[in-house]
């Protein structure tokens, strides 16, 4: 019996065998990969690392800590500025990929996973803002509830239920976002960096 018939064999065939080592961990890139715009993809990942690190610190100390501790307030500030940097880098990265028409050459899934990461980041950021347990979170959650309620989503995701929002923000959503980001990066490595748009005959 061929080993590829086994589930493990099929998974290996569909994943690891699609890659060569230099695809996953490259030490060379096509010569056209030489522009500042390429910095913003990895900068987004770096800001994500900072978000996770500062978020884990806040998680370990609990939701009230940053209101009463100067160290906690600083860690919260790092978390806030990391998310601001994360979105700035991601939006520039997204615009860059649009102008590069980066979906060319069977890279539609890469574009789609990038968009999914963007949307999931917005939801994750939103849940972060409504769990601050201060005036800002009170106002945002009471205003935003109407949008979610109008869509019928509010019956399941209650922006006024801080406990639910905390659990979503520190457990489920980072896992989902992390999985999408990993998927996106793997697709980038699988397909390689999109080559320049070649315009000739003029």
């Amino acid at each position: 019996m061929s080993e590829k018939i086994s589930w493990t064999g099929r998974v290996r065939s569909a994943t690891l065998e699609k890659f060569e080592p230099e695809d996953l961990l490259p030490d060379h890139q096509p010569a056209y990969v030489a522009s500042w715009i390429y910095v913003f993809g990895v900068a987004t990942l770096a800001a994500f690392v900072m978000l996770i690190a500062s978020g884990l610190y806040l998680t370990l100390e609990g939701p009230a800590w940053w209101h009463t501790s100067s160290v906690g307030h600083y860690v919260n500030s790092v978390h806030l500025w990391s998310v601001e940097l994360f979105f700035v880098f991601m939006v520039v990265h997204l615009w860059g990929k649009f102008w590069m028409a980066a979906w060319r050459g069977r890279r539609l899934a890469t574009w789609i996973t990038g968009c999914l990461a963007f949307f999931t980041s917005i939801i994750t950021g939103f849940t972060g803002y409504i769990i601050q347990s201060n005036f800002d979170s009170q106002w945002i959650s009471t205003q935003a509830k109407d949008g979610f309620n109008a869509m019928g989503i509010g019956a399941f995701f209650n922006t006024l239920n801080t406990g639910q929002a905390i659990l979503l923000h520190v457990s489920l959503l980072p896992l989902v976002l992390g999985a999408i980001v990993v998927w996106h990066v793997i697709l980038v490595r699988r397909r390689g960096v999109v080559p320049p748009i070649e315009v000739g005959g003029e």
Binding site: H28, S35, A150, Q164, G192
Partner: protein, 314 residues
């Protein structure tokens, strides 16, 4: 005529000239640089933490607004009292065409403001006057409850500043006692606990106090306006003080600033639906008509890959 040259097939693995690169080094350098940037920005600009409002702060800072809102909850005239799903069946919710998604989802977070915000917390009080007022309220038919509460609510609003009014004409029933008792609970801090621990002793759900606070006529919205957080100030995308907020929600906030959304009773569902469609458009942009051609018509890529194009040219 412009055409895409087939000399570079974007779906094929690159076999042309390469340059040296170090993925791990790039990632490490990026984390160090971005990390230092975040640490520095945090040290320089910190982060906002405007203290949360409470029933206690409301009753001390805007007592007239508190008692007016409490009376209006009993009268069933607040936003929460006539909201509809997911809290109650007292309102229609919002429609998009013939579809009402909130009704389809149903009442999953039951809130009856008169009971949830006023009567239930007062049941924890043991003084005989409050107990008698609660009993009188509960024993009365809903028409009489409504008559008492509306009369008292209107009188409080008309006066504007009064925290309690005498019932010379005998029109208010137990409502003045109920409202005054709730006000006393709020001033003592007991109401905050009562509203957050009514379902569970561990306060993690702030639906009741936040809906109650959201019904405030002036206290909550005035605080928000002072922090440039109102809907007509681009609302949820802002942060208190001068800190940057969720600026990535600019397009979502933008629709609320213009017609027909601005004055529509269905603004929320219209804006949410529009944003859903636009998001789907972004997701599927590569396979939509026209839009994927824009990068070819406006050659920003010439700037991005200028070194490559210059080398090819030479």
């Amino acid at each position: 005529m412009r055409r895409e040259l087939s000399s570079v097939d974007p779906s094929k693995k690159w076999s042309g000239p390469v340059r040296e690169y170090d993925l791990i080094k790039e990632l490490v350098v990026a984390v160090v640089v971005v990390g230092l940037l975040a640490l520095t920005l945090a040290a320089l600009f910190s982060s906002p933490d405007e203290k949360a409002l409470t029933m206690n702060s409301w009753s001390h800072e805007a007592p007239a607004d508190f008692v007016q809102t409490a009376a209006a909850e009993l009268a069933g005239t607040t936003t929460s009292a006539s909201y509809g799903p997911p809290y109650n069946k007292n309102g229609e919710g919002q429609n998009i065409g013939p579809i009402n998604l909130s009704k389809l989802a149903g009442v999953r977070i039951p809130i009856d403001p008169a009971n949830s915000f006023v009567i239930e917390p007062l049941k924890s009080q043991s003084d005989p006057i409050t107990t008698a007022a609660v009993s009188q309220w509960l024993a009365a038919p809903s028409k009489e409850q409504s008559s008492w509460a509306n009369a008292y609510s209107d009188a409080l609003l008309k006066d504007g500043k009064a925290l309690t009014l005498t019932d010379a004409a005998g029109m208010y029933g137990p409502v003045p006692t109920l409202v005054t008792a709730l006000y006393a609970m709020a001033k003592s801090g007991a109401l905050d606990g009562a509203l957050t621990t009514s379902d569970t002793t561990l306060p993690t759900n702030f639906t009741k106090p936040l809906l109650f606070l959201g019904d405030s006529g002036t206290y909550f919205p005035d605080k928000a306006s002072a922090q440039h957080l109102s809907g007509d100030q681009w609302g949820v995308m802002n942060e208190t003080g001068s800190w940057p907020g969720q600026s990535w929600l600019w397009l979502y906030s933008f629709w609320y600033q213009i017609e027909p959304f601005k004055s529509s009773g269905n603004a929320d569902i219209l804006v949410m639906s529009l944003m859903g469609i636009l998001s789907l458009g972004l997701l599927l942009l590569p396979i939509l008509p026209v839009l994927p051609r824009i990068p070819y018509w406006i050659p920003v890529h010439r700037l991005i890959w200028r070194n490559w194009y210059n080398k090819k040219k030479n």
